[in-house]
């Protein structure tokens, strides 16, 4: 190995003497470094956005929901809530009813989601509904239920006039707008009695395992209910995020493939240019196996230096852009103030391994071809 390493170091270190090998190696090295850097920065950007989405999800969405396995009424909801509260201290537990009503203001009427929650003490609408109706805090709206009651004038929809205590941020994934009411008020609108449809739970310190914990807490009763954790409740969104990550990795990873092909060309060019040297080395006793090692070392040397340099620059750029908030985003459109970058050590390691594997493959092919030649061939063609 000593002679091969010595030669590779001399080949790569020949830049001062402006040797061709060192020059083409530098080009390959820069290409691979740029590829790795692009991939690291892109993945950091993706992780930055995705982690802000996940953070938003954890901060504002329900972490687990218990619903009846069949039908819409959750029987014994009050007792169930107290059992869960006892078993899962520190978890926020809310009884909920949901439905769709027509919400009207003097200017307009639109269908909207109506949510009744046991922890709500006042009426709020989200920004989407407030925007559509043109209402704000202190205005009154009428909520008209699809449920009807019989009157001397015939069946009429149940309706309530409510005063808006506040306008809040919409729930993650909400598109149609919603109005949130105290539970009893929503029950009267949607059911006409004390019906609960679901129990929603939040555990800010351990949101991702709450669904599992609820199933354990429910014990035998879990079979009668449908328990969904954070991952199940937001499966489409989380799947989309995972898919996006894979697709971006593959798409941007093609840069690495191009860089590896460039490395292959350059190693092949070195093999052709150094044909005489290789024949001489073989004449001096370098074995075919050692010739293969020489080219693998050359490719891996370029790959290692290029990848590590690219990764270091990529991490530095990502950290700098994130900490200085150098790329601001318009407020009100995005949930974050600037383009977020989050470097994940695991992702950087995967990129480095991928780059090194590709560099090895790129040098393996010319290495095999060169090692097969009889030394005299290289001397004869001089």
């Amino acid at each position: 190995m000593g002679a091969e390493l010595h030669l590779v170091l001399r080949y790569l270190g020949g830049l001062r003497r402006r040797t061709h090998v060192a020059t083409v190696s530098l080009i390959s090295l820069v290409s691979l470094g740029l590829g790795v850097m692009a991939l690291v920065v892109t993945l950091a950007l993706l992780e930055g956005f995705q982690s802000s989405i996940r953070r938003e999800l954890v901060e504002r969405a329900t972490h687990a929901r218990v619903e009846p396995a069949h039908g819409r009424r959750l029987e014994g909801a009050v007792q169930l809530a107290s059992v869960l509260q006892e078993q899962l201290p520190g978890v926020e537990i809310v009884q909920v009813v949901r439905g769709t009503c027509l919400v009207s203001s003097p200017g307009d009427a639109v269908p909207a989601a109506v949510v009744g929650r046991s922890d709500a003490t006042r009426v709020t609408v989200d920004e989407i509904l407030a925007g559509r109706l043109g209402v704000s805090r202190g205005d009154a709206v009428e909520v008209i239920s699809p449920r009807q009651r019989l009157t001397p004038m015939g069946p009429l929809p149940v309706r309530q006039r409510v005063e808006l205590a506040d306008v809040v941020l919409p729930e993650p994934g909400s598109e149609s707008g919603s109005v949130q009411l105290p539970l009893a008020q929503a029950q009267r609108l949607l059911w006409g009695g004390p019906v609960v449809e679901a129990i929603e739970l939040r555990h800010p310190s351990d949101p991702w395992r709450l669904g599992h914990q609820v199933r354990i807490a429910l014990g035998e009763r879990a079979g009668e209910m449908r328990v969904q954790g954070l991952a199940e409740l937001h499966r489409p969104l989380l799947l989309a995020l995972a898919l996006e990550r894979v697709m971006i990795f593959v798409a941007v990873g093609l840069i690495l493939v191009v860089a590896a092909l460039n490395l292959l060309c350059n190693v092949a060019m070195v093999a052709a240019e150094k044909r005489r040297d290789l024949a001489v080395l073989a004449g001096l006793g370098l074995t075919p196996r050692a010739v293969r090692r020489l080219f693998l070392l050359l490719g891996l040397g370029i790959g290692l230096v290029g990848s590590v340099a690219g990764a270091v620059v990529g991490v530095a750029v990502s950290v700098a852009l994130d900490s200085t908030q150098a790329l601001p985003l318009p407020r009100g459109v995005f949930v974050v103030a600037s383009v977020p970058f989050a470097v994940q050590p695991g992702a950087v390691a995967v990129v480095l391994v991928a780059a090194l594997v590709m560099a090895s493959l790129a040098s393996w092919l010319p290495a095999r071809l060169v090692a097969r030649r009889e030394p005299a061939e290289g001397l004869r063609y001089e």
């Binding site: 002679a3 001399r10 040297d277 004449g283 006793g285 074995t287 005299a376 001089e382």
Partner: protein
């Protein structure tokens, strides 16, 4: 009468290039023996196969037919790695062009066979300096090939060929690219080292005068004609 077994024995050696209508037979049923310690010149017209013979004897190429025995050992069945190891341990090469590696200075070029053999860098370089001194180039140890004259380059190549203390020295027109003065110097150096190191040497040359300063002259004839020692 020489009782020792020859270091090199070639029997029925056949080698050609190409195939079909473009086939050229270079060596045909060649027989040759070189005794241990001999300095043999191989002469013959251009294209007769002198370099090919040297490449086959030096394990740089494989014959199509016939056998080659080096130091009493049949070479035909050795794989590439074994042949490479034997080239490293047993044979020293000097080519017509110096064929030094541009990226290495003179001492590293000379030390290269030792590095290939797995010797430590310091040991290899120490032997390299010793050999450069032997060829009168100790002051040029850290010069790169492009900083040396043609004669100096060839002397470094001779030093490199002797780095592993080989038993067999093969030189393919070592003075072919040099002016008369440098050619004489290099040939004299090869002769001196041949004696000093107790080598067996085969030198391919076009220079009849140099050939006759060797112990024996082997005249190689075109395929189909008789080749053999003429002195």
């Amino acid at each position: 009468m020489n009782e020792r077994a020859p270091l090199v024995r070639v029997e029925g050696l056949t080698k050609g290039y190409g195939s079909g209508a473009t086939r050229v037979d270079v060596l045909s049923e060649l027989e040759m023996e070189v005794d241990e310690g001999a300095l043999v010149a191989v002469v013959g017209p251009s294209g007769v196969g002198k370099s090919t013979l040297l490449h086959v004897v030096g394990l740089l190429d494989r014959p199509e037919a016939g056998s080659l025995m080096l130091a009493g050992r049949e070479m035909g069945r050795l794989d590439g790695d074994e042949r490479a190891r034997l080239r490293n341990q047993l044979i020293g090469f000097v080519f017509q062009h110096h064929y030094l590696l541009d990226e290495l200075d003179a001492v590293d070029n000379v030390a290269l066979p030792l590095r290939i053999a797995g010797r430590a860098a310091s040991q290899a370089r120490s032997r390299g300096r010793e050999l450069l001194e032997a060829v009168g180039l100790e002051a040029r140890a850290h010069h790169f090939p492009d900083q040396l004259s043609g004669g100096e380059q060839q002397r470094v190549a001779v030093a490199r060929a002797l780095a592993m203390k080989p038993r067999l020295l093969l030189a393919d027109e070592p003075t072919g690219n040099l002016d008369r003065g440098n050619a004489d110097q290099v040939f004299q150096l090869v002769r001196e080292l041949h004696l000093l190191e107790g080598l067996t040497s085969i030198i391919v040359t076009h220079n009849e005068e140099m050939a006759h300063r060797c112990d024996r002259v082997f005249r190689l004839a075109p395929a189909g004609q008789s080749s053999g020692y003429v002195s």
